[in-house]
Amino acid sequence: MSVPVPPLTAISLAEPDADLLTTICRVCDGPATRADMDHLEQLLADPAAITLYLAVRELDATLIWKNRWRRPWQPPQLAAAAASSQSNQPTLADRVESAFDRVATMFGTALLSLGHRLGSRAVIAVLLTMTIGLGMAAVWQAGLVVEPALRLVKAVFERQPPRLPGSVACLTDLHDATWAVTDDAAEPPTQFASLFPGQWFDLEAGLVEISFDGGAVALVEGPARFSITAARTCGLEQGRLTATLDKAAAKSAGIQAGFAVETPTATVTDLGTSFGVAVGAAGETDVSVFDGLVELLPRSEKDDAFKPAKRLRLLAGESAVVATDRQARRQTAQVDFIRTVPGRTVVDQQPPLPFSWKPGAAAIIVAESFAGSGPLHGSTPASRGGTGTEQWRAPRDGWQYDPEQDAVTVTQAGSAFLPFRPQHGFLYRLSITTTAPHDQPAAVGLGFTPTADPNQLDIDFSWSHDPATSPSDASAAGAGVSVTRTVILDTSLGEWRLFSLLNNRLVSQSVLPPQASQIQYLAITVSAGSPITFHSLSLALQKLNRPR
């Protein structure tokens, strides 16, 4: 049956039939009743109504396709080919080297020059970002990895796909991984794949590292069959898995931490530690604790429920097994687990801060939300209890505050400076919290500087850049997620030190050269290819007597 359907441009959308639009939307948003469907069927007798229905469904389909994860169907042999190609995955070390090469090419002599300066000044960590503002190809994510032994600066620019909405974990690394081809011929996951609740995986061989949104990092050793259950839970039907959960780090990064592994015979709950779980062919579960505390809860055979009375708590060095009789027993032997990805030479562990920052005891020097109307649209920052006299030195028209959206739009990328002279004997904490939009890549940096010259920023000893949110800045921020960058300047010792943190996680520290005492300004810089609207942007400078 041929239906003459008018094109979208031929129907009236200025004032559509309200009943029709409402009914279409009700059916699309569901759940639709029989009455809704009948009513819509009557309305769809009009060809123009069919056009509107088709247009709404096409709109919905586009948004679903864009926002919802799905396994793209692949013919079986393609899936198999993709699985075998996994074994050629580069190691993280390879990627760091290759990324560093790319960065070096991109920044050319400027980077080399900066590297020399960094070396001579013994500054070990400067996060390089940008390229977008410089008109170069979009860089999806920038981050810094420090090799403490060499104290070299390395920048990692990775083209990562974005974390997809609804995902709870990310496949952060693979080592010689081969996946079994499953019946549904789904595409095997590749590096940085978003992982979703309900996904099952058959790992034939090799190692994969999975970073859960609940803060745990799990290393699964093939052969293994496992599932992603939630941000804090995974299932292990067979095989070996080790997990590490740094609760303190997760907490400081604002993550509600937790992790549990469910096996056919038990649930292993991480209480802030690292541990290994091995599940045998019959479902028997071996647990070994490397550090911290783990709770082991056997699963009841009858009703598949848990028996709290039978739970075991295991400390570092202890081991237990839940056999097929569902009884938990301590044992002396530990299963031999692989606990690190082979070939991973770059260390990005978090060293502790050498002091504790007590927010309650700190005095606020500057608090700025950029909601005013002057340069940077805070004519004077709400500093010193709102009595600040210093003004930002910045492009007058580059920053716009929209009170309706409570958002700051930076139309003119660049740097801004606020006079500030640190004194000896204190800890100064400068932080900026930004929420960048999903589709506007940008970079934000902050630090202290002796001159208000934007051209000098890259070579200033006390300057620190951090990666900003971008559509795919999954590990640091995630789309639309708030990110806090912090620089702590310690002037309490003979030599001044600078600590850079991202989401309260220490990423670098350095001893500043003697001329650091000539700091005259605090500075922020924004780099973006086009105007960028921050959903929120706030800066604070605080001072604290260093705790002894």
Partner: protein, 167 residues
């Protein structure tokens, strides 16, 4: 059969037109792709791919809907209308790329919170009720918001298409 990989998105839109319940569409799409793959020998490469795939998908969807209607008492379109929608969708398909391009431009003009709402709605991780609770509005108010957004986007797409036609 690379055509099948290329046109999965068209098939997805086609199925979403026939099945109002979007959660069913993903599963059905996988089934249909696999079935089309298995039937690849019956496809003559000199014929256009999409009409062949749509005819197959339509039959598959009809069977699926009949079963849904019978087993789960789910409200679905009647057979006559399904046929009509399938044919209409195929015709509508010819200009889909232009509309999608216009839509992409229109989406960029939305306010961030409007984009966020659409992302949340179509991510498929929460029901409308849950989303309403999470955003602190009633389900009715959220439905109305979504309706207004759809209307605004379609008007914007129409406006762009008309402007392009004029030039």
């Amino acid at each position: 059969m690379e055509m099948l990989l290329i046109h999965q998105r068209n098939l997805h839109t086609f199925l979403l037109t026939l099945l109002p319940h979007e959660d069913d569409v993903d599963d059905l799409l996988q089934q249909i792709c696999l079935a089309l793959w298995q039937k690849k020998d019956s496809y003559a490469p000199d014929r256009p791919f999409l009409p062949w795939a749509y005819a197959f998908a339509r039959n598959h969807a009809l069977k699926y809907l009949q079963q849904q209607s019978r087993d789960k008492q789910v409200a679905v379109f009647h057979g006559g209308l399904l046929e009509q929608l399938a044919v209409a969708r195929e015709t509508f398909d010819a200009s889909a790329d232009t509309r999608r391009q216009a839509l992409a431009a229109c989406l960029k003009r939305l306010r961030p919170e409007q984009r966020q709402l659409l992302e949340d709605r179509f991510a498929g991780t929460q029901t409308l009720k849950q989303l309403a609770a999470a955003t602190g509005v009633s389900a009715a108010s959220l439905t109305m918001k979504l309706q207004r957004l759809r209307h605004a986007l379609l008007k914007c797409v129409q406006h762009r298409l008309a402007r392009e036609e004029a030039t």
